[in-house]
């Protein structure tokens, strides 16, 4: 018997944190513009100690305006999607659940397309509209998914599936009938793209990330029990309905956040929790933090590949996660067939 202890949790998180740090360093180093590690370190240090004016403008641009924002966004998106995926897998009692199954990304895409049609040249509009679309879908699916005042898992899943098909149809309709505009931006957005920085300061986004991951974390012990059966969990003292609501809202918000700033990057929310389960077990008290960290590492590395593998062409990061994710998923599926 080797139960999870705080010490083990801290050690594993520290190890993953170190891996994330290494991924960030590698990602900072690589790119079209030639800059060496000492130059990067100099750029970082000079800013920290206040000697901003001594940094060559190109270095400043490359490090602080191009690479670091992308990496930071990648961490945000990777952590959000993975945690949301783990949450949805528990909420919906379905190992195949990913963050998009309840329609959040479809709602965001609809918001994006409407904003592209109405105000294509307004900076930042697309992200706000996407988040609004995501929020609307979250609320609608929630209300459709209730039965007798409680969140019913099967009904919720059905409501989500209906939402996805309906919204996809509306998007398809709009894309073929709205006059005049080419939805080039949509293609990138639908595939997942980290090159567009969000319109509001990252402080808020990171705060939302911490709140979202933190909320789900507080229910992690409950989720462990719920996964052995809702009735059983109730008899053990879990407030099942409250937990479901918390997880639903938090996971949906995290998904909406990620999708609004970077489009729908696939496979991360589905695969990272499974990978972490394979490595560290199914205890959600460990799974939530490791999924967050693992997702961040994955996206940072995927984005690095997307930027460098066929330079100067930049692939959308969603294409990279799909290319790598699909074979990994098949491998995982085959392993499960014991």
């Amino acid at each position: 018997m080797r139960p999870l202890t705080a010490r083990r949790l801290a050690l594993i998180c520290a190890a993953l944190g170190a891996m994330l740090f290494v991924a960030v360093v590698i990602s900072l180093r690589m790119g079209a513009y030639p800059i060496s590690i000492p130059e990067i370190v100099m750029t970082l240090l000079n800013r920290v100690i206040g000697r901003r004016n001594e940094i060559p403008p190109d270095f400043w641009n490359v490090v602080y305006e191009i690479r670091l924002p992308r990496i930071a966004l990648g961490i945000l998106v990777g952590a959000s999607l993975s945690t949301a995926g783990a949450g949805f897998q528990a909420l919906l009692r379905n190992p195949l659940a990913d963050p998009y199954v309840l329609g959040v990304s479809s709602g965001a895409a609809l918001g994006a397309i409407i904003s592209l049609a109405i105000a294509p040249q307004t900076a930042g509009m697309i992200q706000f509209a996407a988040f609004a679309g995501a929020g609307g879908t979250i609320a609608a699916v929630y209300f459709l998914g209730r039965r007798g005042g409680h969140v019913d898992t099967a009904t919720l899943l059905l409501a989500g599936i209906v939402a996805v098909s309906f919204l996809s149809a509306v998007i398809m309709f709009l894309m073929t009938t709205l006059p005049g505009h080419e939805f080039r931006g949509m293609a990138f957005w639908l595939m997942g793209d980290l090159a567009s920085p969000p319109p509001i300061s990252s402080h808020w986004l990171y705060l939302l990330l911490v709140i979202g991951v933190g909320s789900i974390y507080t229910t992690s012990a409950d989720l462990n029990l719920i996964l052995t059966g809702e009735q059983e969990a109730r008899h053990l003292g879990v407030n099942v309905n409250r937990v479901k609501i918390v997880v639903y809202v938090a996971a949906s918000l995290l998904t909406g956040l990620a999708v609004s700033v970077s489009g729908a990057i696939g496979y991360v929310g589905l695969l990272v929790p499974h990978l972490m389960r394979m490595m560290f077990g199914s205890d959600y008290r460990l799974l939530i933090p490791t999924s967050a960290l693992g997702g961040a590492i994955l996206i940072v590395l995927a984005d690095l590949l997307a930027r460098t593998v066929v330079a100067p062409t930049e692939l959308p990061v969603g294409a990279m996660t799909a290319l790598v994710g699909a074979p990994v998923f098949i491998y995982l599926m085959r392993r499960r067939v014991r």
């Binding site: 202890t5 462990n224 996964l227 809702e230 053990l236 077990g281």
Partner: protein
């Protein structure tokens, strides 16, 4: 931990007054509102009985007699429309979730497990009602879980994966999780359903031993007349939502009564050990 395998009357606290009343049901009644208007509502009650520590009590009756409804009332899932249900003196439906889970453990047909889980992880979950939020399991928790596994004879299964267990092994583990809750009242809902005769007997023997050796009350919902008669101290007989009789098997198993309740031709034979045997009439 005396064995009561022979079926002799169990060692209840011989002197009255030292037996602790774990469960007290007083005139409890409930009505199920059917969702379909054309179906009649189902009423249960009023029911009254007591269960003491170290007692093994059967809630006996055919299908649709109200056994499950009574169980949900005992487990605190619904509030009775009238009357009281108390465990250790606390009104069950008013207990807060964790407090209730610390007193009442319910063993039902288990749901499918989605992700791989080890036996000890599963049993350790029984300690949830005692854990503070965001804390991890203490050494004490591990001790109780280990003891629970030992009590059901599943010690050696500790490190196995749950989905690799046989039906009987799984049931023992589920029971262990319930025991890890350290309940005052252990409820089992038709636990012998999928077992063969050997399994049924083994389970009831185990429950008998557990009841004898600990201070909680064990209640089993069943329709198995023979098992109830052989192993239980007392029987609560239900029929179409009404509680017809409460007492020892000898007191409850009256031929006319049983024939009416189970709608089958029966004969009741008293055996020397004081436990009645029910015989089916073929023709």
């Amino acid at each position: 931990m005396s064995s009561a395998g022979s079926g002799a009357a169990p060692g209840l606290a011989a002197t009255p007054g030292t037996a602790i009343v774990r469960l007290k049901v007083e005139q409890a009644s409930y009505a199920h509102l059917a969702t379909d208007r054309s179906a009649p509502t189902f009423t249960l009650g009023p029911v009254s009985f007591e269960a003491q520590g170290q007692e093994l009590v059967a809630i006996l009756g055919p299908n649709a007699s109200g056994k499950s409804t009574l169980l949900t009332l005992l487990a605190g899932l619904h509030k009775p429309l009238s009357g009281r249900i108390e465990v250790d003196g606390n009104e069950v439906s008013q207990l807060e979730l964790r407090a209730r889970a610390q007193r009442i453990a319910l063993v039902q047909q288990e749901s499918e497990l989605l992700f791989p889980l080890r036996v000890w992880e599963y049993v350790l979950q029984g300690r949830y009602p005692y854990q503070r939020r965001l804390r991890f399991e203490s050494d004490e928790d591990c001790l109780f879980a280990g003891n629970a596994l030992a009590q059901v004879g599943a010690d050696l299964l500790r490190d196995r994966w749950m989905d690799q267990l046989s039906g009987g092994e799984k049931q023992r583990v589920i029971l262990a999780r319930a025991l890890a809750q350290q309940p005052s009242l252990l409820l089992l809902d038709e636990p012998t359903q999928h077992l063969d005769i050997g399994g049924k007997v083994e389970l009831l023997r185990r429950l008998r031993r557990l009841a004898d050796g600990h201070r909680y009350a064990v209640m089993v919902v069943t329709h198995e007349l023979d098992l109830a008669s052989e192993f239980c101290d007392r029987v609560v007989l239900l029929h179409k939502g009404r509680c017809l009789r409460v007492g020892t098997p000898a007191e409850v198993y009256e031929r006319a009564l049983l024939e009416e309740v189970f709608e089958a031709p029966l004969e009741v034979e008293m055996r020397p050990n004081g436990r009645p045997r029910v015989i089916l009439q073929g023709s």
